[in-house]
Amino acid sequence: MPHFILDGKEIQFIQGQTIIEAAAKVGIDIPHFCWHPSLTVSGNCRVCLVEIEKMPKLAIACSTLASDGMVVNTNSVKALSARNAVMEFLLINHPLDCPICDEAGECKLQDYAFDHSVGESRFVENKVHKEKRVSLGTHVMFDGERCISCSRCIRFCDEIAGVNELTFINRGDKVTIDTFPGKELSNPYSLCVTDICPVGALTSKDFRFKSRVWDMSSTKTICSGCSRGCNVEMWVRNNEILRLTPRYNEEVNSYWMCDEGRLNTFKSVNADIRVNGPHIKRDGTLVKAGWDEVFALATSELKSYNKSEIAVLGSAFATCEENFVLAKFAKSVLGIKNIDFAKHEKPNSGDDILIRDDKSPNSFGAELAGIHPLKDGLNFQNIMRAIDEKKIKALYLVEDDLVSLDEDYKKILSKLELFIVHSSNFNSTTELADIVFPAATYAEKNGTWINFQGRIQKLLPAVMTVEMDRSLDGMAMSRLDKFGTEFDRWGKSKKMNARPIWKIITSLANALGTKYKYQTSEEIFDEMSKTIDLFKGLDYQRVGELGVKLNVTTLAKVKV
Amino acid sequence: MSIWLQILISLVQILFTASIILVTVAYLVYFERKISAWAQNRIGPNRVGPYGLLQPFADVLKLFFKEDIVPHAANKPIHTLAPILALVIALSTFAVIPIGPPIYIFDLKIPLVVADVNMGILYILALTSVGVYAITFSGWSSGSKYSLLGGIRSSAQMISYEISMGFSIAGVLIFSESLRPMEIVNSQAGFMWNAFVQPIGFITFVVAAFAETNRLPFDLPEAEPELVGGYHTEYSSMKFAAFFLAEYANMIIAAGLIVTLYLGGWQIPYIENLGLSYTLTTSLQILGFFVKMAAVLFFIIWVRWSLPRFRYDQLMNIGWKVMFPLSLLNLIWVAILVMLMN
């Protein structure tokens, strides 16, 4: 394999790789602004200048192909002074308004100014002033002064989103970014430009001035928006989710995620209409009740129906573990055969980039965990029909808003004699329920989801319920979380009285006389890896941050 | 003189002496704070009453309303007994200190001393020895290491310094040829004060008196930086007040003893030569006693705010290697004097 020398270190590369690529592969970071591993090379920022022996001038590492035996220096006097000079040039017209810039703390320019700059400017003339508050689209705000014209956003729109929306206008120091006439930055991936913008020129309107990045904790988890299951970081301050950012996973979402997933999936966790504590219907309205009271009621009610009169609906939004415990509960404790879950497909809503038709994150997992009708059991459509015909009188539903699927279900579900729902938020389905268990959201529990590729990925809790503790449960903690007390206003965060489905089912099974001993979601997963072939040999550690693809050949046989 | 009249006179004397001590203690505390403030360029108590004069009463009232806390590990009866013992001993020691020559009311000769006993000095030595028990008891019964250490230090200190104190007093007794405090005072007529006749004895006695009353620079039993509060660490409310009272009462007694034994008691040199009436002379003499005592008390306080505390080894060094030989030396000096005078 060919190799070259980088700062005295031998680095192997594949023919055709640039110096910066080959270095990045082995974890060496050569300073760069305009270069991005997923975008074409532009070579305009000049900060990656390196000294190559036997070359008369410095070369940019991002567009110089590595060749065998090349000797590259990033820290030679020449390279260093060139980098300092580039930084000085870049900072000439940069407003240095870090105090009011949302990018501060995760800004490449800030970092490099710290690492590679002399710290003083010799520029005494007036800076060029540009528009500071330009709305480029529904979600993105543009600050012309901060822009260093690296063209990453332009290349993203052209190459990844596949729409030509952004371009440079004007020349020289007046150059700035704008949308093409009559166009807006409105592609479904527009917020990705705020991620790749190396400075604070492009920022999210949704997150604008919400929080400094260092005040938040970040948790590596999965987006719940569709069956893609994009890897994300969930940023939380004061027990409230403030933003999601994509997390690199080449197999699933690369560096990107869609605006829909980024903006609209976590809001239900922060919503005011969360189910806080168990509820029972009394005189037509849902009223709060104690856990023990609700368990007692649910047990006695469930006991009063024939096995054929009960149906259980799992959920493509619940985790594999929860669906597994639910299926086990339905089969062995309730002894019923009518088990299924509702699909949430929106035909033709997906695209070729990331967005999928299936709007639920775990339909694969629900199926695999055992949520499917047993022999002679009814499937979802037939269960609904049976309810309509009053053959099925009791329905146990977890984490699914059936009425949102079809308004007609409202009429059907109201025919039920007993309707138990696990739900994280109040919605038109819970209105019809007799008992509502508060369900912990995907941001409040451990568990796994399986995406459309058959990749099992792990959820981590980022938000506390009343039964959780950030430090004891090993959740991500910000500085405020670490040092806050109950006497600080920012320590008094909103916490929901909610439990993951498996925990409630475990209590219910115990109340019905079958001892379940699950203490954590991981214990359930370990049991699954013993009983389900596809999960064999897996545990949470092996699933890890990036997930594991299940055996596809076997997977094909499972019909979904 | 009927027995009832004697009892009545004694009771009046006791009441008078006790109230004098208590009031003096109160204002001694006040002046201690004032003097310390002056020495440190501060103002001192000035909030309660004019010039803060009511401060002692406010303090007592505060202590009175405080919760009485007894530690779980304490030996309760002895924990309660100790402060009472301390106070009783402190108050009863004053019984043998004469504050003036006998006075005559309706031809009744009333000695200005509660008990004009012929072994008064022995009585004082005996009582001060018992005083150690109060501190040792409190230290042991509190069930706290600070208290225990304070108690142990206190007993060691008292035993060490009682020897030089005893020898110093012996010098005085050889001179006066009596154990009766009245006689001792009488023997110091004119300028024959023991302080001048046997200065070494005077110094050793004063130093021993400081040590016996646990005053700085000898306050090791309650050394705050080391022992929190020493033997009274675990005391609160009025029990603490009793110790506090006893400590200051002991100071007054020490001052009274110094005046009686070394500074001529109530004697004012050559006052009888002025030809004043008996009543006036007596009054002046009583006043003289109190003025002398006040001076000594001021000196005790003044020393406290000037000198730092000794280390424990220094304390023992001085006690055994300096004070004890000095007091022996004093005894020899007195013996020589007596021989020469005869």
Binding site: I100, R479, D488 | I35, W38, N41, W305
Partner: protein
């Protein structure tokens, strides 16, 4: 530093110790007649100099606006985590303003880091040292209590410009 005197270095007179005691007594006696330094607080109030670091306050411009841009640097640098800032959007030139700015005086240690780090000279250590509260909530000061007109803070601002 003066050389430490050991016991063996002492002269006979010093070893006797009594003269030294008399010296000490004389010193305290001398001091008893000197005037006292005590300031009788509630009646007489201490007026601190410009270098004094009292309660941190926010500068209010002449037009009534706060100077703060809610950058949160004070909050970040605060070693006691006494400051909480919530920024929001404004149409004014500064773009960003503190929607909520709270200093928990029960946490504050008066180190002055917030003042030092502030890029806008917007948080200033005032001379206010009378900070007693009867409950925890009162100790958390919001914008209403924090904003102080810039004219009242000139002395400290001048001091900072000179020495910071």
């Amino acid at each position: 530093m003066a050389k430490k005197k050991r016991l063996k270095d002492l002269s006979l007179l010093e070893q006797i110790y009594l003269p030294e005691i008399v010296k000490g007594l004389a010193l305290t006696m001398k001091n008893m007649f000197k005037p006292s330094f005590t300031m009788e607080y509630p009646e007489v109030k201490f007026e601190p100099g410009a270098s004094y670091r009292g309660r941190p306050v926010l500068v209010m411009e002449e037009n009534g606006d706060e100077r703060c841009v809610a950058c949160g640097l004070c909050s970040r640098v605060c070693p006691a985590i006494a400051i909480e800032v919530q920024a929001n959007d404004t149409d004014k030139e500064k773009e960003r303003y503190p929607e909520r700015f709270e200093i928990n005086m029960l946490r504050c240690i008066f180190c002055g880091f917030c003042e030092e780090v502030c890029p806008e000279e917007a948080i200033i250590m005032s001379k206010d040292y009378e900070l007693a509260y009867t409950n925890r909530e009162d100790g958390i000061l919001g914008l209403d209590k924090l904003l102080v007109p810039v004219s009242e803070l000139q002395e400290r601002i001048q001091f900072l410009r000179k020495y910071k």
